[in-house]
């Protein structure tokens, strides 16, 4: 078990299974097909992301360095929240990027969904965490990986 301390961008608590993308997470490419066709498991559609392509994202603790790609990214994340298809939480090893931040904030301000978002967890976090591990997020940005 290891504990990491990050910055809560959207504070909240949750416990969920980790899904780890060690590359930049392309929000549009990952979500578009799943949202468009009502995939309840929200399987990742990003062919360029070997870590998580075709893996279910719904309800997982999404661990990533940052998001990349289209500026629809924040809108897509907001839509995922509004449709109840969001991850349990999003955990960034680096400083959150503007698109992910937009989506997380839109989800927080304009929906009733709780999706804790923590950033700046450090490179060691992303090296340590493996898909399938159990993640617990505390409101102060403490992330426990077991």
């Amino acid at each position: 078990m290891k504990v990491f301390k990050g910055r809560p961008v959207v504070p909240g608590t949750c416990t969920a299974e980790a899904l780890v993308s060690r590359e930049g997470f392309n929000t549009l490419a990952s979500y578009q097909m799943a949202l468009m066709f009502g995939d309840k498991k929200v399987k990742c559609g990003d062919q360029n992301n070997a870590d998580i392509y075709k893996k279910p994202m719904g309800g997982k603790a999404l661990c990533l360095p940052m998001t990349i790609g289209s500026t629809t990214g924040g809108m897509v994340l907001y839509a995922a929240c509004a449709m109840g298809r969001q991850p349990a939480c999003m955990l960034f090893s680096k400083h959150i990027d503007s698109l992910a931040a937009s989506g997380a904030i839109l989800g927080d301000v304009w929906t009733d969904v709780s999706m804790p978002v923590v950033d700046q967890l450090g490179d060691e976090f992303l090296q340590y965490v493996q898909t399938g591990m159990t993640i617990t997020v505390a409101a102060d940005g403490t992330v426990t990986v077991a």
């Binding site: 930049g24 990349i68 790609g69 698109l99 931040a101 927080d108």
Partner: protein
């Protein structure tokens, strides 16, 4: 963040709950990035990335209804990304059914919302709003509230305007409020390069491949790119702008680049040179082999990787007038070599409506029509966002289209060879 009295009053609800939530969203957005204040949006027009009325994205349009019902101030007018539908683009009966009855059944609702919010009109639906014919061309130093990754990176890099990589919805909120948080690419510090890229190619690097390689390497950082002079010169002429449009789109979709500097070419690099490079910047050398390796690593996700191409898209981002003319010449020459009258693969060139209108005033339009190539204002990415396209072998010279869909990437030379029947897809 320190707000002006007026901004604080809006946040406190002086203009109602909806406006208060708009300002709260912008404040949270800014505070996440350490913004100390809001700055006025100074460009004439905004640009929104959301141009599609997707049935399953209903929550987005519900949110826009909330905005429209919120007694908001008249915001900045704006252009929007391309429309997702055009009857001129080849589609089967089933595809048309899926597009119109299932996928884009919110299109009319959404376009009515955009009209109320201030979209500039039919001519404003394009991802290359900055082209002269479209008229949303910001001036150097202007602050923008735009989204659309390829347009943002172009406005920052080629025009010297200032815009963060805003998300869809956030950009409209900035246009409504008339101010945006000051951070990142809006600041001098945020515009400094943290990567130096030395291009040492023997051949002219394909813009879509070079952009892809750099985007994947630097992710969201700002690269300062040297060694492009043999290919682009030192003047921002139409050819250089076209190259940078396609290059930038690839950096932004394969990575998250919002600004690049090209030595001796882009405005800030011309004025400030290597003083734009931040202390401790990393260096990366790119040669022909690097680009070939990048190209080889692209996955092919067609159901049948050996399938013959059924459709070809050129123009993601939308093509310029010069590109339409150059491609017309090239397609004609290619067909003359193979002895064909028309292209071997149904092909669509996409461009902004006002560019198409200008193109149609030239003799090139009739010549291109004769080759069988269709010219459309459509967004190819939106066209391909359906499961039927997964089993359709679509080819493209756009790295952005490749990234988000099952379209297979080929270099421009290869695309030309395939559509004119000189070579087969391999």
């Amino acid at each position: 963040m320190v707000l002006t009295d007026e901004q604080q009053a809006l946040l406190d609800g002086s203009r109602g709950d909806v406006m208060a939530k708009v300002v709260k969203t912008l404040v949270m957005y800014g505070e996440t990035f350490g913004a100390k204040r809001m700055v006025p949006v100074t460009s004439a027009y905004g640009h929104t990335v959301i141009s599609f009325g997707l049935g399953v994205m209903k929550p987005i349009y519900d949110l826009y209804d909330t905005l429209l019902g919120g007694d908001l101030p008249a915001g900045q007018r704006f252009t929007a990304d391309p429309r997702p539908l055009d009857d001129k683009v080849p589609a089967s009966f089933l595809e048309n059914l899926v597009f119109k009855k299932f996928m884009y059944n919110q299109q009319a609702r959404y376009e009515a919302q955009l009209e109320k919010l201030g979209v500039t009109g039919d001519d404003g639906y394009t991802c290359t709003c900055y082209m002269d014919e479209v008229g949303n061309t910001p001036k150097r130093g202007e602050v923008l509230s735009w989204a659309e990754s390829s347009a943002v990176v172009y406005a920052n890099s080629v025009l010297g305007a200032r815009c963060n990589r805003n998300s869809g919805i956030i950009e409209i909120m900035g246009s409504i409020a008339g101010f945006v948080p000051e951070f990142g690419l809006l600041t001098d510090e945020g515009r400094k390069a943290t990567w130096v890229i030395d291009v040492r190619c023997k051949n002219r690097p394909e813009p879509q491949l070079l952009g892809s390689a750099i985007g994947m390497k630097v992710m969201e950082d700002v690269p300062y790119i040297r060694g492009m002079e043999p290919w682009l010169g030192t003047e921002l002429n139409d050819a250089a702008k076209d190259y940078l449009k396609d290059f930038g789109a690839a950096t932004a979709s394969n990575g998250a680049v919002g600004l690049y500097h090209i030595e001796h070419l882009t405005p800030e690099a011309v004025d400030m040179g290597e003083s734009l490079i931040a202390e401790g910047a990393q260096t990366w050398v790119i040669d022909d082999e690097t680009l070939e390796q990048v190209r080889k690593n692209y996955p092919v996700i067609w159901k049948d990787p050996a399938a013959a191409p059924k459709l070809c898209f050129v123009g993601c981002p939308h093509m310029s007038l010069n590109q339409l003319k150059d491609w017309t010449d090239a397609v004609e020459a290619g067909l003359a070599e193979t002895g064909r009258q028309q292209v071997a693969v149904p092909t669509v060139f996409t461009a902004p409506t006002p560019v198409i209108r200008e193109f149609e005033k030239t003799p090139y339009a009739a010549r291109l029509a004769k080759t069988g190539v269709v010219v459309s204002y459509i967004c190819p990415l939106m066209y391909m966002n359906n499961p039927l396209c997964k089993s359709k072998a679509v080819i493209t010279s756009s790295n952005k289209l490749r990234t988000y869909t099952s379209a297979r990437y080929y270099t421009e030379a290869d695309i030309l060879g395939i559509i004119t029947g000189k070579e087969t897809a391999r």
